[in-house]
Symmetry: C2
Subunit: 198 residues, 2 copies
C-alpha cells in the first residue's frame, strides 16, 4: 500500500512540483519533479495561467492521493507574499476541483521533518532529500527540492499521527481521507508494531 | 457600441461580482450583481473552489469584454491579505483561461473615479453607484457595490485614456484589447468631440 503525495512549493517565478510514493515503512521513491513559472515582468494573468496549466497537467498525469503545499505567510516582502498567495490559490483550487485533499505545512515543519531541525538551510534540505530518495545529488533548483521535501514531510508527519488521521495538523481539505490514505495509515501503524518502521 | 465590464471585489467571505454595460457617452447600465463566498472557518480548498465556480459561471453567463479586479495590497491584516490574494489569483486565472483581458485598480483609483475623491467612504461609493446606475438604493452588501464601482471606474478610466489604450494604467493582461474595446474607445472619443460626452 503506497501513498502518492504531490508536493508544491508555490511561486510565480519558480513553482516547484514533486511527486513521491511513500511506503508504510516510510521508504520514499521520487516519481517526478519539475519547476513551472515565468520571469518577473510577465503579465500577471499569463503568470497565473502558466501555473494553472502546469498543476492541472501534473495532477492529471500523477493522480495523487493528497496534495501538500507550503503554507503562505508574510515572511519576506509583501509583494512576494501576494504573488505566492495568488499562485497557491490556483494550486489549491486545481486540487479541490479534482476532490484531492489538500494539506498545508510551514517551512519550519518541513525542515524539521526531513532534517530534524526546523532551522536547516536550503543546502541541508537538498542533501537530505537526495539521501532519502537515494539520488546522486539534490533536485535542482532549490524550489524543486523544497517541493520534494514538502511531499516527504507530509507523508511522514501524517504517519506520525498514526490512525488518528483527523488530527493531522495543517489539513485544509473538506474532503475525507481517501481509501488509499486510510489503508496507508493502517499499514504504517502495523509496520510500526512489527518494528519495521523507520 | 457598448463595453461590457465585469468588476470583481475579491475575497473569501464575500466576493463581489458585477456586470455593467457602458456606452461611449459614459452611460452605465447595471446588468447583474451578486456576492459569492463562504463563512470564515470553512476549509480553504472549499472556499477557493466556491469562488472558482462562481467566477466561472459568471464569465460564462455574461461574456465580458474585460474583467476589472481590485489590486491586492497589504492594507489590513496579513491573514486577510493572503486570503484575498488567493481568491484574486483564482479570479484572474478564470479570466485568463477564457482570453478575457484583466485590469487591476486600487481602491483609491476606484473611489476617485466614481465619487471624485480617493478618500470617499463605503457609504458615499454606494450612493454614487446607485446614482450612476439609476437605482433606487445602493447594491447590498458593500462588497457588491464595490464590484460595481470597480467596473464603472475601469470603463471611465479607460475612456479617459482616449485612443491611447495601451497606456491604460493597471492593465495586467498579455492579450490585446478586444475589438469591442477598441471600437468602444474610438466611439467614446468621437462622442467627446461631438460634445455629448459626460
Amino acid at each position: 500500500m503506497t501513498l502518492r503525495v504531490v508536493g508544491i512549493d508555490p511561486g510565480l517565478t519558480r513553482c516547484g512540483l514533486a511527486v513521491v510514493d511513500v511506503e508504510p515503512n516510510r521508504k520514499v521513491t521520487l516519481v517526478d519533479v519539475s519547476v513551472a513559472g515565468t520571469p518577473p515582468g510577465t503579465p500577471l494573468d499569463r503568470r497565473l495561467l502558466t501555473i494553472a496549466e502546469a498543476i492541472d497537467a501534473w495532477l492529471e498525469r500523477h493522480r495523487p492521493d493528497v496534495l501538500a503545499i507550503e503554507r503562505v505567510f508574510s515572511a519576506v516582502s509583501v509583494t512576494t507574499v501576494i504573488g505566492t498567495a495568488q499562485a497557491s490559490g490556483v494550486v489549491i483550487t486545481a486540487a479541490a476541483r479534482r476532490g484531492i485533499p489538500v494539506a498545508m505545512h510551514t517551512p519550519t515543519e518541513v525542515k524539521a521533518a526531513v532534517t530534524g531541525s526546523g532551522q536547516a538551510n536550503k543546502n541541508s534540505v537538498g542533501k537530505m532529500v537526495a539521501k532519502i530518495c537515494r539520488l546522486d545529488s539534490p533536485p535542482k533548483p532549490a524550489d524543486a527540492a523544497d517541493a520534494v521535501a514538502l511531499a516527504i514531510a507530509h507523508a511522514w508527519r501524517g504517519a506520525a499521527v498514526g490512525s488518528n488521521a483527523s488530527a493531522s495538523a495543517g489539513r485544509v481539505g473538506s474532503t475525507q481521507l481517501t481509501t488509499a490514505q486510510q489503508a496507508w495509515i493502517a499499514a504504517e501503524a502495523s509496520a510500526k508494531r512489527r518494528g519495521t518502521g523507520r
